[in-house]
């Protein structure tokens, strides 16, 4: 019984924070371009289905457990400053934006008409539309 009360409060908090957060924006073209970047630079460690291998999973339950409710800017920061792990910060800003868009789409977030930019990701939160 006490567990149920805690759970209910947790749901309320999640809804509240989701309501305040802006969803991520990106286009299908960005995601498609990001897939090309991913295959070349990320797949070796994170797997051909983003399932994880030497690197952590970038899609599915495991990824969403870690990233739901977090800022897209934090995901971009980690990707940009630390990846690929052997050559961090070696891709262009555009490539990093695209690969983040690809990861988001792989986690069920749908593309739209507005592109992801260095500005829009600052206010966006990782949450399904």
């Amino acid at each position: 019984m006490p567990m149920r009360r805690v759970f209910t409060a947790g749901v309320a908090l999640t809804l509240s924070s989701s309501a305040l957060a802006a969803p991520p924006t990106f286009t299908a073209a960005q995601s498609k371009a990001g897939q090309v970047v991913y295959v070349t630079n990320c797949q070796g460690c994170h797997g051909n289905k983003l399932q994880g291998s030497a690197g952590s999973p970038l899609a599915g339950t495991q990824f969403l457990k870690k990233w739901s409710g977090k800022k897209v800017d934090d995901l971009y920061y980690i990707t940009h400053t630390l990846m690929p792990l052997n050559k961090p910060n070696s891709l262009t800003d555009k490539q990093y934006l695209n690969v983040v868009a690809y990861i988001l789409q792989a986690n069920g977030i749908k593309p739209g008409t507005k592109p992801m930019t260095a500005v829009t990701l600052k206010t966006a939160t990782i949450t399904k539309k």
């Binding site: 295959v39 797949q43 070796g44 291998s53 495991q62 400053t81």
Partner: protein
């Protein structure tokens, strides 16, 4: 009520499982003798971590005739850094969330267990298990410790060690002794704050903990001049541990501080990071420690387990680090005997900068998760290491829970500039005896030495090699399907015949190509 019934049934089932495991070894007596056993009972063979076998059927005169006998293929890529552990003809292998019992002669699978993670996975790397009284006890990518029945593969108990959503996991091969099993926390690169633990080996209940990042009134807390930085201070136990069963001293290699590169964020010596820490295994109380690098800003861990041995009857401990240094300490006087480089060292005394500081070795080089092997007949140490450079840069310090927390970045030189090495040293003096090199790739695999005067290891191109321990001359080399060798070489006896088993197919962070080779155990011997 229904829940209580199920719990009762589960309890009975666990009790039955435990009962069937009782009476099986390895017993405490067998573990005490593991260093000189013809089995391979721990990640580093025995409590001393020497990786030495008294077997000599395969030796310098016939090593060139070794042949591949059988293969057990895990059929998937991923981290594979364990040494096959062998007891009474059965090989126990850990890979990711799976555990296998395999016939050590013909590679047939006896049982297989797949663990379903209960929390987020940080890294699936698991470097082995503790085998103890019919139980196989191991860690997981979601920071748990669980026991399987060695006969059936059924779960006997399952304990949470730490919260993996904050970056903790349990990659070490635990060791067991006198009713306790020892397991520490990994995850410094994710901004964790490490602890070492002992658990009751029969129940999985916590017995004691030791804080690797001291705070408050704890010894060493004053080496964190900015106390707030201790909350993400690092200090991991990545690999395995050593133990002196005669006096109950437990030896730990404690890894890097966090954030990895931003030393200015955590001024002070940052104890007990990059240190060998010696605890009383019964109580978890600190006995003594040796720090190798204070206030590290290059992620050059003390990571591989220390190796324990005696020189002229005097106990010594040696540890090889990612910085490419090998430290030896006299355990009677608690003084350093010598420190020697295992490879080229460039700019290690220069600070990391925003513009970039070129360093050798880089954080994926030096001695990684395997340390020296010790051959008591020769009083010699054989150290796996990689000579490889890179450029470290300071950057923004931003903590995102459960994510890498570097405070900068490190670019690695091209893979083909790495030079893998096995370097032999006189253990008494630290004088270099010989150096076997494989230009163009890394050596991260465990080194094994034997009474047959052999030194065996492998490289990341999949080449398993056997050397003459006396001079480093290559006696034999064999490519295991281009599968990068990240685990160790085990050697053991079944039915009076000596075998070699190699774990290959490691998918390694930062250096794996787009098509990683699946994991496999290959068993070799003389026909």
């Amino acid at each position: 009520m229904q829940h209580r019934t199920r719990s009762f049934a589960l309890g009975l089932s666990l009790l039955a499982s435990f009962a069937t495991a009782q009476g099986l070894g390895p017993t405490q007596a067998e573990l005490n003798a593991a260093d000189t056993s013809t089995n391979w009972l721990m990640m580093n063979k025995g409590y001393s971590g020497q990786r030495y076998s008294p077997l000599s059927q395969i030796n310098t005169s016939n090593a060139g005739r070794v042949q591949r006998l059988c293969t057990f293929n895990t059929k998937d890529p991923g981290s594979f850094q364990a040494t096959p552990q062998v007891y009474q003809g059965v090989m126990y292998v850990t890979k990711g969330y799976r555990t296998y019992a395999v016939n050590a002669v013909n590679c047939n699978v006896i049982w297989q267990h797949e663990y379903k993670p209960k929390g987020p996975t940080v890294l699936e790397t698991v470097r082995g298990a503790a085998l103890y009284n019919g139980m196989l006890i191991r860690g997981s990518g979601d920071a748990r410790l669980f026991a399987l029945n060695m006969r059936t593969g059924k779960v006997m108990w399952d304990t949470q060690v730490a919260d993996s959503s904050r970056g903790y996991f349990t990659s070490s091969a635990p060791i067991a002794w006198n009713g306790l099993v020892f397991m520490g926390e990994a995850g410094a690169d994710w901004g964790t704050k490490g602890r070492m633990h002992a658990f009751n080996a029969q129940t999985g209940k916590l017995v004691w903990s030791f804080d690797l990042i001291p705070t408050g009134n704890q010894l060493g807390a004053n080496t964190w001049e900015r106390a707030e930085s201790t909350t993400t201070g690092g200090g991991s136990l990545w690999t395995s541990y050593s133990l002196n069963p005669n006096n109950g001293r437990l030896y730990l290699s404690v890894g890097n501080p966090a954030p990895d590169f931003a030393a200015q964020y955590r001024p002070g010596a940052n104890l007990f990071t990059n240190s060998v820490v010696v605890l009383d295994a019964r109580t978890g109380k600190l006995d003594h420690y040796y720090q190798q690098i204070a206030n590290d800003d290059k992620d050059l861990d003390t990571s591989a387990a220390p190796v324990l041995y005696r020189i002229n009857g005097v106990p010594h401990v040696t540890v090889a680090t990612k910085a490419g240094s090998m430290f030896t300490y006299n355990e009677a006087t608690l003084k350093q005997t010598y420190v020697v480089p295992t490879l080229r060292q460039v700019n290690l005394d220069k600070p990391a900068t925003r513009e970039g500081t070129r360093i050798c070795p880089n954080y994926s080089a030096g001695s990684q998760w395997h340390g020296p092997a010790y051959n008591p007949n020769m009083a010699a140490l054989f150290v796996p290491s990689t000579d490889w450079c890179g450029t470290v840069k300071l950057g923004e310090v931003r903590y995102v829970q459960g994510q890498l927390f570097f405070g900068g970045s490190l670019s690695l030189d091209p893979d083909n500039t790495a030079i893998g090495q096995v370097v032999a040293f006189n253990a008494t003096t630290g004088r270099r005896m010989w150096n076997y090199q494989v230009p163009g790739t890394r050596i991260v695999a465990g080194v094994t030495t034997t009474a047959g005067n052999l030194v065996m290891s492998g490289d990341l191109k999949g080449r398993f090699f056997i050397l003459d321990a006396r001079n480093g001359r290559q006696l034999w080399r064999y490519n295991i399907d281009n599968a990068p060798i990240g685990g160790g070489v085990a050697t053991y006896d079944v039915g009076g015949r000596q075998y070699l088993a190699v774990a290959a197919g490691n998918t390694s962070r930062a250096t794996t190509g787009p098509k990683p080779v699946p994991g496999r155990i290959v068993v070799f011997g003389l026909r």
